[in-house]
Every structure is written in structure tokens, then in C-alpha cells.
Subunit: 253 residues, 2 copies
DNA sequence: GGGCATTCTTAACATTGGATAATTGCGGCA
DNA sequence: TGCCGCAATTATCCAATGTTAAGAATGCCC
């Protein structure tokens, strides 16, 4: 077991500090944590909208941990983009590319993104040696799946304004886990077109949805950044119940 | 590496034969395969509609591999059920319960189901000893996530008849992996209410959707069983592209 | 600082997916 | 044989969303 103040973690684990903050810090040995940090090869910078892993072929031969910024997983349907998931600092992208030789989606930077590059060979070696690290990454995938399940339900059952509200509530909660949730503001570099592509609706309709949240005085969304006085009301409106994220807090393994 | 005719596999691996058939058989040592089969404790039988793991507490202290039948993952929204995913023989349920101390969903048997019970302690021991088995289960979770992503997209972008068609196309493909896909018939014990709860629509509307598939002469669905002359047309109608399942065939690890 | 490109906003109108309710038909099971 | 749950059908109504178009704000680049 290992624990220290957050500032220290940030310097000792410049790439994986957020990953550790979210759920692992208390649960793994210092050697494991160091091994996780040592997975990272070098820092990468993605410009706004850059994509990784053109669908099918051309899968990057590395995974990547998000150090700063937001990334999307996207698919395309006759050219038009659909955003399947959103990822925040501390999360690892492209583990699917590691396990399989093709991936079912592309990855795209929303805004500028800083990544820690994790080469597959290094990852493979560490996983073989460190059972606990493998468990940590596996539980990341399990969480991914839990988020996806919620999104399925949200997409099938809520209307556009609720969906957008739900997305922000979820992000707020997830950013909270890494100590990056402000009390009244959630800064994100999303355009309304991004919001539309998350919901599978037209950009005009996404605008209407945003307008409705404003009209209801639940939230003001400007250039992707959400301002609210009252997260509770917003959560109630979105029918947001963070239970599905509780796994973040409570690992068995 | 290990390979033998399917009949033999069935007797040697009565619980995990389908799991192995799907993607692992060529990739793992005989010792690993035996270890996987040895995960199973005893056989369990679930009656129609039985549920496991009441949301939140009461998580079963075992995982379970489906030997025969179909299972749902479900969530509830003020009492009403929503089906988040469907599982077929060879798939392992409740790995989330193993990794975390709560799960975000319940599991429900559609029709009668035969399961192989996998106690957590046994699972934990095997994973610690056998790196390759851990990898196998992890890739199962990655696949789960890939299926979920497709469902998100389907829920957000397709209408009810297409969604139902897509569900059956996907099931047909998945059953194919374990040698259980008939050329013209897909037998499943789903009611129209089940279909409705998969799509997030009313039962009446699910009925309309089924009627439309019939009217278009794409498929006839009676008591959950689908009959079709022409899977290709059905796939085109559902915009079904099996690429997202290709991971089943092509593991790196 | 000016101008261009993107993003956002608003409006009007068409479409349709889906809810609800009420009724009939069917088939399995006791 | 008769019941009962499920499936199928029909009709009406409404909210959610798509489309198109045009103008306003914003931010970026030179």
C-alpha cells in the first residue's frame, strides 16, 4: 500500500498520476505504481481534431494514457461521425489495439491533448511480470464497459436535452475522481457539433437542446463549457444516478 | 497450441467448450485450456426469467459461464426493465462482480439457462497463476465493450425495426462463432416485450417493428424465433457490418 | 486591426416515431 | 375444453427530431 499527497504524486508520476489518483493509489504496491509509470515511453501532443487509428487498418502500435485534455472514440456511418465515448485524463486508450489486431473505432482529440505513449511491447512485458498491473488495466476495461452500458440506456431512453445533461453530469463526476471538477464550471472544448454527434442528432437540434437547458435555467453551455448554479437539479433532470460509476471507488481485486 | 474436432472438445470441455470454440482454442496451451475448464465448480440451472444480482447489493459471489440458453444484462428505471446486452453460450457473466464489490446491472435468464458456476476464489487463484487465462478473460471484456459501443450507435441512430434486425444479425453472427447458427432460423426465447426492452420502446411499438420486418419480407419473428430466406437483405436493412466482431477472430495477445 | 471561417442562433415547416387505449386473435397448458 | 397470457391489430394523438435557410456572434489568421 502506498499513499502520499497529491502534489507529490503529480511529480513522481507525471504521466500516470491521474490514473493512480482515480482508484489505484491505495490498492497497489509502490513497485506496481512505478511499473505503471514506466510503461510510458514519451510524451505526445495531438492538435485539435487529430485522429488516431483509421478504422480497420493502420491501428497505432501503442496505447496511450491521457495526461491532459479530452478524447473521443468515434465511428463513421457513410462518412458522418458518431461519438461513442469520451475520455478524460488518466484513462488509457487503445488497449483494444493491444489485444486485437484491429479496432472497431477511431480515436479523436477534442481540443489539444497531451498523451503518454505506451508501446505495446513494453506493455506486454510488464503485464507478464506484474499480475497486479494486468488487473488494474482489466478493471479499466470493465469500467469502460459499465460506462458504455449507461450510454446505451441513455441513448435509447432519454431525449436530446437530457442526454446532453447526462453527459455533462457524468463528466463532472469523472473529473471529480481526479480532482478536476470545479463547483460551478465544467470546462470542455466541445462544439455543438460534437454534442450532436454524441447524441446522434443534427447540429441544429443539439443547439435547441442546449437552448432548452438554458431556458430551464439548468445550465448554460458556451463553446462546450458548462456553467451551472445547481448540479443537483441538472442531475435530477438528466436522471443521473452515479451508481454505475461506484466501481471507481470499490475494487475487490 | 491445441486443436481437435469439435465433438471431442465438447466432451473434454463440457462447460467451456463454446468459450474455447469462439476464439481461444488455437491460441492457448492445453494446460491453460484445462485450467479454464477447471474454473467451473458445478452446474447451475436457471428457470425462465430468473434474475441474478439484485442491483447494488447482493452481488453473487461467483461468475458464471453460459452453457446453454441466453441471458440478458438488465437495468431498471423506476421499475421498468431495460435490456442492455444479450449473452450467448460460451460467454462469462459477472466478471464485474469479481473485480468490483458492486455491479451496475442485474442478470436475467431469457428462457431456461444452464450455467457453469465459477467461484471467485477459484478464479482469483487461476488468474494469479496463469497469465494467459487472465488475458483471455480480459479480451472477453474488451469484446463486451466493443459490442456495447455498437449498441450505443444503433440505439442512437437506427429506428426500431432496424434495431431489432440488427440485434438478430448480431446474434446470428455470434452464434455462428460457436457453430450454432442455422441457415434460415434463429431460435431464441424472446417475447416481444423483451424486444421492446432491448430497444427502449413500448411493446406495441416493438410489435409494429416486427410487423414491418414481415411486411418488407425481410424476416418473420414468432415468439422470439426469427425465420428468414435472406440474411443478406436483412443485414443491409439493419446496416449490419460485422467488422466490430472481427476481434473474435484476430487476437494479438 | 480587418477579414474570413467557423460556430452558434433562430425561425418555419415537414415528418414520423412512438405513446396510449381498446379489441381481437392465437396457442399452450391445466 | 376452456382459460389466460401473449401477440397482433387498429386508430388517434403528440412530442421529438430533421431540414433548410439565413443571420449573428466569435475567434483566428494575416
Amino acid at each position: 500500500m502506498y499513499r502520499e499527497a497529491n502534489g507529490t504524486v503529480a511529480t513522481r508520476y507525471p504521466f500516470t498520476g491521474d490514473f493512480l489518483a482515480s482508484r489505484l493509489r491505495d490498492r497497489y504496491s509502490k513497485a506496481d505504481l512505478d511499473a505503471i509509470e514506466a510503461l510510458v515511453d514519451e510524451e505526445m501532443h495531438l492538435p485539435e481534431r487529430a485522429t488516431l487509428g483509421t478504422q480497420g487498418d493502420d491501428t497505432p502500435s501503442f496505447a496511450a494514457i491521457i495526461v491532459e485534455g479530452f478524447m473521443f472514440r468515434i465511428t463513421r456511418r457513410d462518412g458522418r461521425r458518431f461519438i461513442v465515448s469520451i475520455h478524460v485524463p488518466g484513462e488509457i486508450m487503445n488497449l483494444q489495439g493491444f489485444a486485437f489486431d484491429r479496432i472497431d473505432h477511431e480515436m479523436q482529440a477534442a481540443g489539444k491533448v497531451r498523451l503518454g505513449r505506451i508501446p505495446f511491447d513494453r506493455l506486454e512485458r510488464t503485464l507478464a511480470e506484474r499480475h497486479a498491473v494486468a488487473g488494474a488495466l482489466w478493471s479499466g476495461t470493465l469500467l469502460d464497459a459499465a460506462l458504455h452500458r449507461k450510454w446505451i440506456q441513455v441513448a435509447a431512453q432519454l431525449d436530446a436535452p437530457q442526454r446532453i445533461a447526462h453527459i455533462y453530469c457524468e463528466l463532472h463526476e469523472r473529473l471529480g475522481f481526479i480532482g478536476q471538477a470545479g463547483p460551478r464550471v465544467l470546462r470542455a472544448p466541445f462544439t455543438q457539433t460534437d454534442l450532436a454527434d454524441m447524441c446522434g442528432v443534427s447540429a441544429v437540434h443539439a443547439n435547441r437542446a442546449v437552448a432548452r437547458l438554458r431556458e430551464f435555467e439548468l445550465a448554460e453551455i458556451r463553446r462546450g463549457t458548462l456553467y451551472t448554479q445547481d448540479w443537483d437539479s441538472l442531475r435530477r433532470y438528466a436522471e443521473f444516478d452515479p451508481a454505475y460509476l461506484q466501481a471507481f471507488h470499490s475494487a475487490n481485486a
